[in-house]
Symmetry: C2
Subunit: 263 residues, 2 copies
């Protein structure tokens, strides 16, 4: 039920986190040693377990070693919105929010984390400028993903949302070497997908079927395969940076923005 503490199980370093930080900035040797030296104080969580409630209490800084988590908000009648998904290498509570966390954190799968308090301290004390920079970059990236999520929820169809989300997962997992350009682990249930994408379970299922039927993805036993990344990216409108609102005569009247399920 509560997290089990495993004082110094295998002393496996947080590979994913190291890879992620290296991708976001340069780290000195001493910083790398600091990260590799982490390993006592690790915790295991079971799927569905709440790691931290929404509220004013600060969360102890942690890094995800394995497993997936999320930040979420739940309405009074049970509707849930997943704010973002946390993957191996992502941090929890690394950025202290002087008002408490804005959303609850919950394990989505079996989850292993390690305590990163000393990393947070080193960063605060200015003893790890490389890590500090990487964490700042990570925060910017997270903010960007949040805006992507906002556009997904506000202005994209179910079909587009799923494609966009799968591409996001693929990219993030590739950075921490938990997948390649085509294939990656996908342990989320359709219920979780629904809560992340603002859809119902049933509609997520049907949308996935459609993507399968069209030869765009495969989804077996916890593994996703993107069969046609280019077409998916096209559907998802990845990185649409075309400012110009005023006069917009080239609104595509001839194109079918929605690939109708009528197969």
């Amino acid at each position: 039920m509560t997290s089990r503490l495993t004082p110094r199980s295998g002393h496996r370093p947080p590979e994913a986190a190291i890879r992620r930080l290296l991708a976001l900035g340069d780290l000195s040797d001493s910083e790398l040693d600091l990260l590799r030296g982490l390993g006592d104080r690790r915790e295991q969580r079971t799927p569905g377990e709440e790691i931290a409630p929404e509220g004013p209490d600060a969360i102890r800084p942690q890094l995800i070693v394995s497993g997936w988590a999320c930040r979420e908000r739940v309405l009074a009648d049970g509707r849930r919105q997943i704010i973002n998904v946390l993957l191996p290498g992502d941090g929890i509570g690394l950025r202290r929010h002087p008002g408490g966390e804005l959303a609850a954190v919950r394990a989505l799968t079996a989850l292993e984390t390690i305590d990163a308090s000393c990393v947070a301290e080193a960063v605060c004390a200015g003893r790890a400028p490389g890590i500090a920079g990487a964490l700042e970059a990570a925060e910017n990236l997270e903010h960007l993903l949040l805006l992507d999520q906002l556009v997904r929820l506000g202005r994209q169809t179910a079909y587009e949302r799923v494609a966009h989300f799968l591409l996001e997962l693929q990219r993030r997992l590739e950075v921490v070497q938990l997948g390649d350009r085509q294939r990656f682990p996908m342990p989320l249930t359709q219920e979780i997908l629904a809560d992340a994408l603002g859809l119902s379970i049933v509609h997520v299922n049907r949308t996935l079927q459609q993507l399968r039927r069209e030869g765009l993805i495969e989804l077996h036993s916890g593994v996703a395969i993107l069969l046609d990344r280019d077409r998916l990216a096209d559907i998802a409108e990845c990185r649409a940076v075309h400012p110009r609102l005023g006069a917009a005569p080239p609104l595509k009247p001839a194109t079918q923005p929605t690939a109708t399920p009528a197969a």
Copy 2:
């Protein structure tokens, strides 16, 4: 077309920004003087004008003196999602994002801004710790509003979204004394509301009609009146956060299924 520069029009200090920062943190006298001394280098924008494109270029720090703006993203086929609305007293480009702006900034009404470069400098140089703290609090608040927006788009009905959004505007405008608990300026067209709430214009119109019919709001010539804030808050599921980020976790334990907005 481009913004007109008005070197020292009336030397009106940015009252709204001062009030907002005072609500977010304590300012020293010298800091207040710094803010009151702003006033040369102001710019006027026309409604619809783009203030800054989405992209890597940094934006000159500015404060909104009057008028409303927004941050937005536009998809290739013209669909637009407004990320958030910027009100008098809000800043633009005050927080430098090392990867550039993540969304375009656009004036929604006639807009007056003043240059706040020297504020940004003072904060960076550590000469304005009070302002720095207030700006950090502002950033946290903005982040919180972003999560609200996410839940709105992902899990709330049109009816709930509109109620929630109006309440957000009321609270934010009250802080800068541009409205009271009931009444505030509302210069947004229904098209803008639609793009902010992820709805169509027509549906926004019908939802507003419904709120009017039920005696919850009035909306005349640029002024909104919330006739029954309590009921609106109930509809919107407000997780109220008011002056300085003081979240209250009144999670209702035994709630009834859905408070359906049955007409």
